[in-house]
Point group: C2
Chain length 248, copies 2
Amino acid sequence: MGRVGRRVAAAAFCIWDAFVIEGRAVNPNAAKSVPLSNDHLLAQLHWRYATKKFDAQKKIPAATWRTLEEALVLSPSSFGLQPWKFFVVENADFRKQLQAASWGQTQIVDASHLVVFAVKQDLGASDVDRLFDAMVKQRGADRAQLEGYRQMMLGFVANVPFGITTQEWSARQVYIAMGQFLASAAMLGVDTCPIEGLDPAAYDRILSLPQKGYRTLCASAAGYRASDDRHANLAKVRYSHGEIIEHI
Amino acid sequence: MGRVGRRVAAAAFCIWDAFVIEGRAVNPNAAKSVPLSNDHLLAQLHWRYATKKFDAQKKIPAATWRTLEEALVLSPSSFGLQPWKFFVVENADFRKQLQAASWGQTQIVDASHLVVFAVKQDLGASDVDRLFDAMVKQRGADRAQLEGYRQMMLGFVANVPFGITTQEWSARQVYIAMGQFLASAAMLGVDTCPIEGLDPAAYDRILSLPQKGYRTLCASAAGYRASDDRHANLAKVRYSHGEIIEHI
């Protein structure tokens, strides 16, 4: 990180929209929390596993899938920049081609749904302005009041700190969405198989993503486990609580 | 990605433990799914926001926090490699020092809990062996049967494809855990503030993470929103469904 980067960082780092941003529009859901029990949350997370064999006959109901798409839309991102797009591949011929670009994994064609997690290419000033347009429109925010925040974000995307490129910073955000998607599907009793085992360049080519301004990072199949998927019954392998969590 | 990398990729990319791995130990939770309703999931995800002001008096009950730690332990990762550790900072003096390294954000000291998301440094052969030891122990898997899978993973971590370093690949996985954590907390009615707005090097120094083999990526405060956090009532700013989701 150069000198400019450090200055930007110093100014920018109350991120994930930590600035006090005024707006007239309110979130109608702010007070509506009906928490799950601890046991219920853990039961769903234990139930989840990377499904290797889907029941090709069993489709996710339209309302359930729409809910998972909404969970994607609601994914958190740093600054709220949402440097992503999610491509739901319905075309059977595309699915076949993608399977060939995924080492033949049957989940690609057998699962009810397949969603490709794509990162925005060349995140820059126009993306910052796009976000501010949305803030003004959706929050009823005052554009002039946001100018300082906007300048800070312009500096940030032009010079991302952490020793990584803007592209890689954007990619990290997409993985937050993957985490939210997998957890959300587990809550709804929908099986998933997150897939990094694919050729991103081939996916890009098959789906014409670069022409749309995006690049493939990973994907997830979603649907329902086949009754004979032996992976469903294998014990989950996780390091022990004490190895993963440290209190200091 | 060099020629070796491409060969490894071709062999390795049925990942997220897509190989059929035998084991005698079973997952006792495999059949226990009690799905939430679509509306309930969305209500919790809408309720979530990046909390800017926490109620410093309100603590997360021990059983609830333990559940969120379990959600972290259960986070999915590619290959199941879990290239992470989560540091729960309880020491008040550390919290003060971390606040200074986070542009003074009050969430760092006011929130009930603070967890630092750290990535394993220098992920390599010993980490692969650590995972295989866990597979043998927790799944009752046969070590000899796993040898081909082990060799493939050794090749993968030595030569990660996607044009990124092993370190960055590991970092992406940590962001999946962030996504699962934020969604899980929302399910339990626990407020969070994900924080990239921090100086990772200062965090590392304050918490002595490199000596433990880890590096700070980001953090999350967790607790309960203050009644006067004006951000709680602001409309969530998200691009429209049609801008974020494309069916092809």
